[in-house]
């Protein structure tokens, strides 16, 4: 965990990455939910439930189009707090 190595002594690194981390975690948690939904949907589809096809497409969309945001979030977190904290308040 990047925070453990970089935020203990420099709490601003945690503060600067917190929102990105929250969304990164959110994507992982939602991705896990989709994995569970997909497993059930495949089982029900195998039993002949045709309504499950829609769910499988939505889940695929999530994995292809939304999960990649995790990379952006991770890059932002690991950039750390330097630029975030560099400016004096007057410069804003």
């Amino acid at each position: 965990m990047w925070f453990m190595a970089n935020a203990m002594g420099k709490p601003d690194n945690a503060g600067a990455g917190a929102t990105d981390y929250m969304h990164l975690f959110g994507l992982v948690a939602l991705g896990y939910m989709w994995a569970r939904i997909a497993k059930t949907a495949l089982e029900k589809q195998a039993e002949g439930d045709e309504t499950m096809a829609t769910k499988l497409v939505a889940g695929r969309f999530f994995m292809e189009r939304m999960i990649p945001e995790t990379a952006t979030r991770l890059a932002a977190i690991t950039a750390g707090a330097e630029a975030v904290m560099a400016l004096p308040a007057d410069a804003f």
Binding site: A14, G15, T19, G26, V28, G31, W34, G59, M63
Partner: protein, 490 residues
């Protein structure tokens, strides 16, 4: 005019097919929560939300709440009757204890109903939601006497509840609270000070309002360690619940605000109001925090609700609105143009909302189940794991679902082109209403800090490690058959 259909089939699919809600049928309250029973309950609740809450959403937004010269506040036409119907149906106390008139069902079922109510009419649903929050606080921290006096009235919906935390100079940093409580020697206190932004602080829907108030007892330490929780009813009740004198608490003004116009947002003035301590002296913030998980879960649900109702209307519009032709040749050649649902960019937008909503609903219900298990399980390990999970997921559900829920309301509005900007279509109301959920119950930036600063490191990272262990286990178990799901693991 916008419409709303509660996603009952989706809720049931998630609860029973995906999440195994009935696995817990050995636990108190869960025995009555079999699929057929819950289906009937959800269908009933859905009907009430669709038929009596939703038709008042736009009219309530237009009319708003009004403060009269004497400090009374009127709510929009129809709100009183709709609230009464909700109360009489037993919906406020769905998850409350039967000993106080509640239905004793798992909170998970209430979370599902709250999604429907919020999607149908967020401003109206808040009166009930705040009452549920106040009920939860009193259940956890009230004395037996307080519980006997207040809970039955609140559960039956003849009194509503409020939460008075925020003051003009402090919202996030509650250690700065100035409102003062002076002991009267008879067990009561007199409270003096000003609270702002108090939702449902004053209204005309019920005969009494039960204010839960954070204040500092005279001589208490500075900062967060000197704050206590009090109950200060608008009308002072006798021990039998009969109504006596009016208490010295009043609504000084209503805020003019961006959305949720049907919910009164009040400046509340306490001028030596009579109040009683709830829980221990100086432990008020801790008391509030124990019920915060559920309240924040409720706000996360508001984000999901606005995202879903906005999506439903955008999807309907996209199938109806004719504009342009499909890139691959006319799909409805007999018509002057194709419906916009043929355009990849429209589909991309709609799918991004849909794919979020279904997983967000799953996350809410999964967490609600774990929360219920934490409340009632007899296995201390299971209880602890449930509590860990609730604590960890609360800032995610509050912060992520309300952030993305608002974005989704904007995306759904975009599907209407210029018409989305026009009030009559109702899409701009979803945007305005969804916006507040990112701010109250702890602004989302503060949720992120709660996650990173408090929830991750707590107990040596036990909660997050348990989560990753579960995800890893699931992925290993399903690695061969469902390879395409593997991308979610990191």
């Amino acid at each position: 005019m916008p419409s709303y259909k509660a996603p009952v089939a989706d809720t049931l699919f998630l609860l029973y097919d995906v999440l195994g809600f009935d696995r817990h049928s050995n636990l108190p309250g869960f025995a009555d929560a079999g699929r057929d029973t819950v289906e009937t309950i959800l269908e009933e609740g859905a009907k009430l939300c669709e038929k009596s809450f939703q038709p008042l959403n736009r009219s309530g937004d237009l009319q708003g709440c009004v403060r009269l010269a004497n400090g009374d506040v009127t709510t929009p036409n129809g709100f009183k009757e709709a609230f009464k119907a909700f109360a009489e149906g037993g919906w406020i106390g769905l998850a409350a204890g039967p000993e106080y008139g509640g239905q004793g069902l798992p909170h998970t079922v209430a979370a599902a109903i709250n999604e429907y109510a919020s999607a149908a009419n967020m401003a109206l649903a808040m009166y009930a939601g705040l009452t549920q929050g106040a009920i939860a606080a009193l259940v956890l921290h009230g004395s037996d006497e307080q519980k006997k006096l207040y809970l039955p009235k609140m559960i039956e919906g003849s009194w509503t509840g409020t939460m008075n935390l925020t003051e003009p100079h402090c919202g996030t940093d509650l250690g700065l609270i100035k409102t003062k409580a002076v002991p009267q020697g008879d067990g009561s206190y007199k409270i003096t000070g000003q609270k702002i932004f108090i939702s449902a602080g004053e209204h005309d829907m019920t005969e009494n309002i039960v204010h839960l108030v954070l204040a500092r007892i005279e001589g208490a330490p500075e900062g967060t360690k000197g704050i206590s929780l009090f109950v200060a009813p608008k009308v002072l009740p006798g021990a039998d619940g009969s109504l006596g004198e009016r208490n010295a608490v009043s609504c000084g003004a209503l805020e003019h605000k961006m959305g949720i116009h049907g919910n009164s947002t009040c400046v509340m003035n306490y001028d030596g109001a009579t109040a009683w301590l709830v829980g221990e002296e100086n432990r008020g913030l801790a008391a509030m925090f124990t019920m915060m998980n559920e309240a924040r879960l409720g706000v996360g649900v508001q984000g999901l609700a606005q995202s879903d109702v906005a999506y439903q209307n955008a999807a309907a519009y996209a199938k109806d609105r004719l504009q342009g032709r499909s890139l691959t040749g006319a799909k409805e050649a007999a018509k002057p143009a194709d419906p916009i649902i043929v355009h990849p960019d429209v589909r991309r937008t709609l799918l991004s909302i849909k794919a979020f909503n279904e997983a967000a609903r799953a996350l809410v219900l999964w967490t609600a189940i774990r929360g219920d298990v934490a409340h009632v399980s007899e296995d201390p390990k299971e209880r602890q794991a449930g509590e860990d999970h609730m604590g960890l997921m609360t800032p995610i559900i509050k912060g992520v679902i309300t952030d993305v829920g608002f974005d989704n309301a904007v995306k759904a509005q975009q599907m209407f082109g210029g018409h989305g900007y026009i009030a009559e279509w109702g899409m701009e109301q979803f945007v305005r209403d969804a916006r507040i959920a990112m701010i109250y119950e702890g602004a989302n930036g503060v949720q992120a800090m709660d996650l990173v600063g408090r929830k991750l490191p707590r107990d040596g990272g036990r909660a997050i490690m348990a989560f990753f262990k579960e995800v890893d286990g699931f992925l290993k178990d399903n690695a061969e058959t469902q390879g395409s799901n593997r991308s979610s693991s990191r």
